[in-house]
């Protein structure tokens, strides 16, 4: 007993353990997130080119912000991004839900199927963008080979201004609809069977059951998934950069792409930082909206 007590007296107290366990993480996060954010804010009020270190940052007040907010091109890029997000997240949701309904039954090999469908979203978005470029090649890609006999059309997908953005939506949906599917499947599983049985006793229609039992119970989960996908789709850079680099023309120039271009091709560092902040504000606003909606739905359910 005395050795144990002695051991404990020599050991670290709860407070010390807490500090030891918390501080390194918090310090790292502050150093790698907070500090850069502050520096970025500072630079956004200056004119600076990171590859011309001889020129000190020149204070220009809010000139960068005003220039950006008055730039009609930028507004178009936000619109393109929003279009992409709505289309992609919408498609992923519908397809994911549909496939979940399909899989929501017992069959042999269900576990295997679920695992295999998990694969697309585990891959690197940049690499996915690259191999879809091959598949979508208008002249010898697999996709045109498959659809030409069916529809007669053989579009140029990623290189045609009319189909470029929908092509990106397709690729993103291929990658992430399994994610939505998983969430919907788990949600569907979690609905207690007796509720359906009770409704059947009352001879409720399929639609009625769906609307009044299924939807309210899996609503919060779906919303959470929507939030994540929306945030991710908004930030998308890797896949777009490799697949189209914003082209053809600038029909797929999403905000993250133009930010990279400003920062690391044009070396307009100050303006790029201002744009980064504008993007950040938009994302925070969006997530706030979503979370408020989520709380409301949770409150109802």
């Amino acid at each position: 007993m005395t050795t144990a007590v002695a051991r404990r007296r020599r050991a670290l107290s709860d407070y010390q353990v807490k500090m030891l366990f918390l501080m390194p993480t918090l310090l790292l996060l502050v150093g790698m997130n907070v500090f850069p954010l502050i520096w970025s804010l500072y630079l956004s009020f200056h004119r600076y080119a990171a590859d011309m270190p001889g020129r000190a940052p020149e204070a220009v007040g809010t000139a960068n912000y005003t220039a950006l907010l008055h730039d009609p091109n930028l507004w178009r890029y936000f619109q393109i991004t929003a279009e992409f997000v709505v289309l992609a997240v919408g498609a992923q949701f519908l397809i994911g839900f549909g496939v979940a309904l399909l899989l929501n039954r017992e069959f042999k090999g269900k576990g295997l199927v679920t695992t295999l469908i998990l694969l697309p979203m585990m891959l690197s978005p940049a690499v996915v963008g690259l191999f879809w470029k091959l598949i979508m090649d208008p002249n010898w890609g697999l996709l045109n080979f498959l659809i030409r006999p069916v529809t007669g059309a053989a579009p140029a997908w990623l290189t045609d201004a009319r189909t470029a953005l929908p092509s990106l939506v397709m690729i993103d949906t291929w990658m992430w609809s399994p994610f939505m599917m998983l969430i919907c499947l788990a949600g569907l599983n979690a609905v207690p069977k007796y509720l359906y049985e009770a409704a059947d006793v009352d001879r409720a229609s399929g639609w009625f059951k769906f609307r009044h039992i299924t939807l309210p119970l899996i609503g919060p989960l779906l919303l959470l998934a929507l939030i994540f996908r929306t945030m991710d789709a908004f930030k998308l850079f890797d896949m777009v950069w490799v697949a189209t680099a914003g082209g053809p023309g600038d029909v797929t120039e999403m905000v993250s792409v133009t930010l990279y271009r400003q920062a690391f091709q044009n070396w307009n560092t100050g303006e790029a930082c201002a744009l980064a902040y504008i993007l950040l504000v938009v994302i925070i606003a969006l997530s706030n909206l979503y979370i408020r909606w989520l709380n409301r739905v949770r409150g109802e359910a």
Binding site: T25, L134, L142, L182, A186, Y260, F264, L280
Partner: protein, 280 residues
């Protein structure tokens, strides 16, 4: 009877869905095994004579025997950087998650939200100052630079996931240990960690995959020495016409570990895949 047909249709539909999701992946694997002329064949060839030429040319330098090619070097960099950053992130994450789970901290909710919000941060927002920071610190194009960055990137996710796991481990076991005279640290190591192994494994896999797949930071912050595979693969183009066979081979080699991990850890992945929303 009706049910039978419905089941049959459903199974067919499931088969179709599987084909749609897996066909692109099959196609890339097939492309990596094709000769150059087969790749550009019209119509695309489903049956062909496979060759390992693409893989060999990607990994070995011709005429010099087993010499590491740039691609092999990049792959190795990916392995080193992803593994080390995952070890650090999960280690730190476990400790922090435990602290949040067991100790009441002032403003804990705020700290947790702060940690969560760093996950929401688009990389592009911090990449510029980090570039400047690394330039000043001499960390540009170094392994250490990317490792620290990826650790910071992953630790917030790790904390969030692991806190969920920690919360599920009943406090009674540690408290019993503490009563028995173990120190807090000993209780953590001997009692809590073994129970958290499944959660730690799942979290590790996710952090590993995230670090492995990372593209934007690697693109901006590395040049040759510490460059990882993702920014390099799109450039394995070859002088002259595009060498899709080599690109496909590089892609397959890069995707292989992820596929293997996904398969091996599939039971544990559900929680992380849905950001902790599902706990099955």
């Amino acid at each position: 009877m009706n049910g039978r047909i419905k089941s049959g249709l459903a199974l067919a539909a499931i088969g179709l869905v599987l084909v749609i999701y897996l066909l692109p992946i099959y196609w890339i694997v097939a492309t990596s095994l094709k000769e150059y002329s087969d790749i550009l064949a019209r119509p695309p060839k489903f049956v062909f004579a496979p060759t390992l030429r693409n893989y060999v040319s990607l990994l070995l330098v011709p005429g010099e025997g087993l010499h590491a090619t740039p691609f092999a070097a990049r792959l190795l960099n990916s392995v080193i950087i992803a593994s080390l950053s995952t070890i650090f992130a999960v280690a730190m994450g476990t400790m922090t998650a435990y602290a949040f789970s067991r100790f009441r901290t002032r403003g804990q909710g705020d700290w947790q939200f702060f940690i969560l919000s760093t996950r929401m941060l688009p990389p592009v927002v911090v990449v510029i100052p980090i570039f400047l920071m690394y330039r000043a610190l001499g960390l540009f194009d170094t392994h250490a630079g990317l490792i620290v960055l990826y650790t910071a990137f992953n630790v917030s996710f790790a904390v969030w996931l692991l806190k969920g796991f920690m919360d599920e481990i009943p406090k009674e076991y540690e408290e019993a240990a503490l009563v028995d005279g173990y120190s807090r640290l000993q209780a953590f190591v001997r009692v809590v960690l073994p129970q958290a192994v499944a959660g730690i494994a799942a979290t590790s896999v996710f952090c590993l995959i995230t670090a492995w797949n990372e593209f934007a930071f690697a693109l901006v912050l590395t040049q040759n020495t510490a460059q990882t595979a993702p920014p390099y693969i799109p450039s394995v183009v070859g002088s002259g016409a595009t060498e899709w066979g080599r690109i496909a081979a590089g892609t397959v080699l890069f995707l292989l570990p992820v596929a293997v991990f996904t398969f091996v850890m599939r039971k544990h992945l559900l929680r992380g895949a849905t950001f902790g929303a599902l706990k099955r």
